[in-house]
Symmetry: D2
Amino acid sequence: MSINTFGHLFRVTTWGESHGPALGATVDGCPPNVALTPEMLQHWLDKRKPGQNKNTTQRREPDAVEILSGMFEGKTTGTPLQLMIRNTDQRSKDYGDIVEKFRPGHADITYWQKYGIRDYRGGGRSSARETAARVAAGGVAREAIKTLAPNIQLTGYMVQMGDKTIDRARFDWDQIGQNDFWCPDPVMAAEWEEYLTWLRTKDHNSVGAVIEVVARNVPAGLGAPIYGKLDTDLAAAMMSINAVKGVEIGDGMAAAALTGRENADEISMGPNGPEYSSNHAGGILGGISTGQDIVVRFAVKPTSSILSTRQTITKAGEPTEIITKGRHDPCVGIRAVPVGEAMMACVILDHMLLHRGQVGENQGQIG
Amino acid sequence: MSINTFGHLFRVTTWGESHGPALGATVDGCPPNVALTPEMLQHWLDKRKPGQNKNTTQRREPDAVEILSGMFEGKTTGTPLQLMIRNTDQRSKDYGDIVEKFRPGHADITYWQKYGIRDYRGGGRSSARETAARVAAGGVAREAIKTLAPNIQLTGYMVQMGDKTIDRARFDWDQIGQNDFWCPDPVMAAEWEEYLTWLRTKDHNSVGAVIEVVARNVPAGLGAPIYGKLDTDLAAAMMSINAVKGVEIGDGMAAAALTGRENADEISMGPNGPEYSSNHAGGILGGISTGQDIVVRFAVKPTSSILSTRQTITKAGEPTEIITKGRHDPCVGIRAVPVGEAMMACVILDHMLLHRGQVGENQGQIG
Amino acid sequence: MSINTFGHLFRVTTWGESHGPALGATVDGCPPNVALTPEMLQHWLDKRKPGQNKNTTQRREPDAVEILSGMFEGKTTGTPLQLMIRNTDQRSKDYGDIVEKFRPGHADITYWQKYGIRDYRGGGRSSARETAARVAAGGVAREAIKTLAPNIQLTGYMVQMGDKTIDRARFDWDQIGQNDFWCPDPVMAAEWEEYLTWLRTKDHNSVGAVIEVVARNVPAGLGAPIYGKLDTDLAAAMMSINAVKGVEIGDGMAAAALTGRENADEISMGPNGPEYSSNHAGGILGGISTGQDIVVRFAVKPTSSILSTRQTITKAGEPTEIITKGRHDPCVGIRAVPVGEAMMACVILDHMLLHRGQVGENQGQIG
Amino acid sequence: MSINTFGHLFRVTTWGESHGPALGATVDGCPPNVALTPEMLQHWLDKRKPGQNKNTTQRREPDAVEILSGMFEGKTTGTPLQLMIRNTDQRSKDYGDIVEKFRPGHADITYWQKYGIRDYRGGGRSSARETAARVAAGGVAREAIKTLAPNIQLTGYMVQMGDKTIDRARFDWDQIGQNDFWCPDPVMAAEWEEYLTWLRTKDHNSVGAVIEVVARNVPAGLGAPIYGKLDTDLAAAMMSINAVKGVEIGDGMAAAALTGRENADEISMGPNGPEYSSNHAGGILGGISTGQDIVVRFAVKPTSSILSTRQTITKAGEPTEIITKGRHDPCVGIRAVPVGEAMMACVILDHMLLHRGQVGENQGQIG
């Protein structure tokens, strides 16, 4: 219901601006007795952290997370967790240009139109820096999932940069952590490297991307039809990430081009329950998980902060030009990978709890 | 928050099964003093109604809506509206095949796995018949919007059937109501007609589609960042519709292939406020409306109910085959058009109310 | 969150006006596989039904409930239940007096001030008739509780009418159903009978009452601190009932007069777990159930519809007088008993589900 | 919906434990452009702060609040405010006794039974220290109310300590800030002083109290029937405060003893709108404000932390005794006054926003 909160039973409220004293996440509804340390969260924050290689923004912040509440003797207590990250790299600089001008493609103009006041420093609340809080909350969700269902695995990776898409024939889970792009296709990773270097250093441009997140070994039965479907909540979670313009489940938009014979995943009985001949559905039927891999994809637009002159207007309505200097990611998709994973973790944990609360032990058996 | 409810201040709860006595929508939060008649809602229900032409299911139901509460002397009172539609075409038939077998691509198996009980008659709660209730609620939202902001126009149409996509150069708003497909491109409409006839009568197959819904003249400032963004709520609304597998805002998934220079919509000052050189963003920046057209697209998969034999299992886990007989839409995308419009209407009204509640008169002026 | 909805996981939305075509409750979140029939709900509706004896309003309605959805072969399916009650006794009468005048003590004036429109017929939405929908929903909750925890017993009764309070020394559970007042003290029941007859026939007046509702055998651990405490939700549930002006848990307001030594319930170990030397707390500590009886009381004010002339104003702001004719309860407390029970049932079921969703199997053991 | 959150549009989530590093409130939905400083919040925190005089606990903490987000250049931005208070007086002490034993009258046993883990240090999350976060949030609400409706005044005071109740004939608003008890009756204040000194120093006991909070100049029309009534939300808000066992609106429980002729507040027309002959209703009819003073009362039980031996059990189920040493309030009612005011402020602001969002400009006029 609230604006800065998501989740039904596992509820995450993020707060904070890019250049304020701190940002963080208030996490309510985490089950008690989950072993948790700041280091566990830091692991995921480090994955998202800027300045790690030349392909991401050179802003450098430790993004160190503190857990201020909800813990006792190394375990969660069932009370709210406060995860706080201090902003340390708040350069005292002249914000002159963006004080009065609206950057095209950014939320400067709409925040002004909505609220009549905006924190222009680094984009304020609309900065992608807000996603650090999501990643911290996602780390909590991961540990809770681990306690409840240790087999579940959540993995995100990039499948497209600009018009360059991975070759699924070369897909290798082990490659994902081996390059700067969380790319499962090593050939494509090399191609992206070259392309992004050119974009960044020569073309002074940016580019969009597609990220895929997969959850494996999720039990059947998660999802709360009709309006809390698992795919509905995943779509909302991903679309809420900065710069995301499209979300797909399973075959996604390509499902439109299929016929019924091509699309339906046929069912057979395997040793551990139902099995499927294919996974066009992305692991979700009628908004409920089938037990197959849950497959979500989302597209991020290219960042609008580029070193090229753009036409815009001032708050006074005067025409003007703007060049967005500063330290920006040439492809925000790279750092969106851990964010997508975090959102997936939060949604899945939430639905595990919701399913337990709604349905309890009533799950139907097959065979 | 709840499972069968959506919306923040304009809250719609749908209820009912395909073959139960009735279905409907409980609509809470409609502003008072909105002129409303059952006929106004019937107009939209008739648009979605099955059996209107040979391209949709031959199930015939009047889908007559009754307003049981929330009205006084032709106006809404601010109390909940109960919109009820009786199910009349509940053929007394032998459900034998689907009683024990799970239809591939349908929610039969997941409802069983989740709840341990399922109303197999016509898909029960997971039937697309549930969308009639959405269309009725959307009709209420349309009338409330008309009262609050008469200039807003909401229009849906099909842009793709199978792999056949409209030619935007032939786009004509006036054509949308002139064919069975809500297609703005008359040439493509004719092509679809031929293709669907073949699919239906010869190939005994079905096909997917892409629907686009556009809202024009929506004021700037709607949307509640970070987790109640306008695009977030639209994505959830569309993804909750039966068979939807992907949702796009503006350029959608194609944004991934663009560079920053291509993507950012440049801003200038027009006679009535800011204007944009293009609308890659689909009318939403940072989750807040810009005043440009709001453009949403969603893909529906082909219906899995086809006259072809499919492999599946029984509740007992035994392998078997199934052919889904019955009256089904060869392309559910056609009847998804008014459903998409209805969801858009609900989301936009909700955000008009929410914006008023959150921000009141504080909107920033430009120029 | 919504206005006409209450509950976290077991969510009840009531709808309908006193003199509209129907009223009812949309019940979402009921667990699947609960055996349910309309007769089970009718039992509780009959308890609340007007016109049953001379001590309640002579309006006569069958209050027959229909279950329109959410059921299959006699069991709940986990999808929303629609419980509808047709209004049959809508006398075609002249509403002249209350069309323009505001009845003192009623919501006529505030509904007008809030909404700018009001259904004056029988009080519209603000009529106590709305509570029939709650009683139906409470009947569902009772059956679900019976499935989950068969030992739980919920019982309401009147403990005070006007300034006449029962003698706890004469408290007898078996007496509660033996008189028109759900009174556990037969001596006081006789006294009330005499008093109410005089009030009704001679004094043309009405009187307030206090109702107590007790839940026995509720497991320890229910309640969601800090803002979803069991007592918080019970207080909200009872205060939302028409005419209620005060709510107490355990000792209630009288706790203010106690000292710490008097108030704290000492703990010992019994054969089935912790036992307490007393129950000042009303079965709730820190917002969580202790396993003791949960004791809630609420006061209803006397109905303002009396056959005495009262000063008021018209919509035009002119001073005037009004006598509220019609069929009214001289003591609305009598029919508030099943309503209080219903609200208690909904809250307890909701917290049983919520506890399961939040905490699962993590409950602490003692001994 | 969530456990540690309250409010519809103005949503407050409190977090933190008594002896953790910090506690605070995440405040979402505050309107933008409200002038705010930490000092404004500190004013109210100081009012609640312990150790200010001999009648409250001698724990001494500065309770200094930091605003970590949601502000820009001295004004709120419409994004979430994070209000953090560091815990400084975390004495490193031996918690031995309460580690294994459950203190009677405290939430020790129920937190254990619910969560299977509890932070026993100072009561952890169930400590009244949590109310500091509410007071900070209430300070934000007060400033927002001041911006929207400068005439509204919120005032709390104690009306009863033990069995000693103020004399309404001596009620003097100006006396409220002149004694340690926020008592409007100076004679009773002196009597309480003497009584509490004896309780604290000689009897080693504690005592309960009744607090009244009044909101003046609240506009007519606030409140969201049926389940978001103004009195419903106030009852929930007050009942959620630690140690509260009863809540009353207007005449409260005493309304039960009245007749209809006595109870209904007659209406006349005054220069500024409707006026009432009395205020039995406490400013609320049908859950909606009338424009009269809104009057809420709540009773707090005596603290169970007293220097007397009490019977209890250990986690192992063994019988034992406990004396709760430490620094405790002999009458927690004193410090509950600013907490009650804060809750009232939050609820009233929330309903001002909600009314705007729901009903907009449609309020009915009289005269």
